[in-house]
Point group: C2
Chain length 319, copies 2
């Protein structure tokens, strides 16, 4: 699917999706977590409805932890799109790469609205699957001069550095510590699957914006208590859900700093108030964005005549 959608397309589609959600034009469904595979493996179903465009759909994402040993991705996902007029199926699409793009773009949108406008340096901890799309997307929305990368696996960090330099044309410093990665960065992205903090809040420079992208359940944690309680503003997609879904915010003393990103974007709630504010975007997955990106890809495939990645895809005769 990703061949049908450029990064700029995705940024535009997801900025629009936050605004559609803010106005009630896209609605969140519930979520279903079902066991499958070995104990601990799961299937997650995440529905949403695009009321304005008259589609509904859901993402199905599986986590099979033993896949790593098979050379397969641990997380697999697909998107299923339906007419919201008749319930007829409209498209089935592989959604693995699109999910990474969505997560990276959402973090870039958060950075655009919360980071210091004079940001030039990004620090990224963890050079896995999320690191490339988040840097690529941030580079489309801000003027980035250098990225610092830190990974416990230095070889993987060097591969990332080559990508940053060759593909994105951004200077890249392979840091030897978390501290070296974050201390001169105005935006810090944590892209790990860690169960304990990957940075020390004392290392952050004043005015830093953090995209905490890896923790999506209460057992996972990338930020330490100092970082969380230094924050002047913490934004999430759906605050109540995020407080129950990320281990990062379990230690949060003052819940009043938490706000929904769409309400910052619409101007209802202030985001950054000074150059020295610490801001955090805590990302746990937002099915509104999956829906919007799947629908954008579907419409792009129809208009461009693409079909090779789409199992079935058809126009809605009623619409």
């Amino acid at each position: 699917m990703s061949r049908a959608v450029t990064l700029d397309d995705a940024i535009g589609a997801l900025e629009q999706a936050f605004m559609d959600y803010n106005r009630g034009d896209i609605a969140l469904g519930g979520r279903l977590m079902a066991p499958c595979g070995k104990p601990g493996d799961t299937s997650l179903v995440l529905p949403a409805t695009h009321i304005r465009k008259q589609y509904y759909g859901f993402k199905q994402a599986t986590t099979f932890s033993e896949n790593a040993g098979r050379g397969l991705p641990t997380v697999l996902s697909q998107y299923f799109l339906y007419s919201n007029v008749t319930g007829q199926p409209r498209a089935v699409m592989d959604f693995m790469e699109m999910t990474s793009i969505k997560t990276g773009v959402a973090a870039a949108i958060a950075a655009r609205h919360l980071a210091r406008p004079d940001t030039r340096v990004v620090g990224i901890i963890g050079s896995g699957v999320l690191s490339r799309p988040v840097l690529a997307a941030i580079c489309r929305v801000m003027k980035i001069e250098r990225v610092n990368i830190f990974d416990l696996n230095p070889r993987q960090a060097r591969v990332f550095a080559t990508y940053a330099q060759e593909v994105l044309d951004v200077e890249c410093l392979v840091a030897e510590s978390s501290r070296g990665c974050v201390r001169d960065a105005q935006i810090v992205c944590t892209c790990t699957t860690s169960r304990k903090p990957v940075l020390d809040g004392d290392d952050l420079s004043p005015g830093c914006h953090i995209n905490a992208m890896g923790s999506y359940n209460l057992d996972m944690q990338e930020l330490d208590e100092k970082t969380v309680n230094r924050a002047d503003r913490i934004v999430t997609d759906v605050p109540r859900d995020t407080l129950n879904a990320s281990g990062d915010l379990a230690c949060l003393a003052n819940k009043d700093v938490v706000a929904a990103l769409d309400r910052i974007m619409s101007g209802e709630i202030p985001g950054r108030k000074s150059e020295k504010d610490i801001t955090i975007y805590e990302s746990v997955g937002f099915s509104v964005l999956d829906m919007a990106l799947a629908l954008f890809a579907h419409e792009a495939c129809l208009s461009k005549g693409f079909g090779q990645d789409v199992a079935f895809s058809s126009r809605d005769s009623e619409q």
Copy 2:
């Protein structure tokens, strides 16, 4: 998909599925009901895992009430099948016709295990989508000589009668009342979407078995209080779920008569104890059967080289 599976195949596969469920070889997932379309329209996701055969999957079924006015089915459904080893997708299939077959076959299996062995007459109330597969399946498992059909729409009842006579080679009487339909029947099937009783318990003959197939939420009701409280044995797929899912059983005084069909089939719990017992199979949908039938169809498609109804379908290299 239904071209890949004969009715006898489906009967064998679903008898096996009840036994697999009884032994813990197929596990039920939860269920997710999401709003879509107009108020009252829904999307239902029903997962299950075939532990022995190493597949998991889910059915997605939509109810769009205004579809009838468009000449489209009100209920649409698809099945999504995955490897339970890796989470990789294995098949997507349209599941509308398969759902009707499943429901009809499950009722026939219940009748085989609960109705009087000397049953010769079946009464069917409601000549809609469920009436044909249930009669066809009962005729495969019992020696039926006549069917009585009653429908508020006599024209539709006559179309059903032609089907029964021409396709199934069974004599068919178009009854002028519910009473005329059920009074000499040893098996009665209610196949309506009614919100109030469609038969009078006093009209049932002693020894009758009833397949109550239409009610799948608390607002729907086909059986009257007399029928329910006359019953010596009521079987369902998952008793606790059924008691919360069907309006038929809201009036039940003695919950001890309720038992799971798989436990009757395995001999753990007695079913019919005498020729005069009234028995009821209350059917609200059982995702274990959807899984088993989808997997049977998938395997049949692979072994027969069929592919025309399958959007994507592949063997699991690990299995």
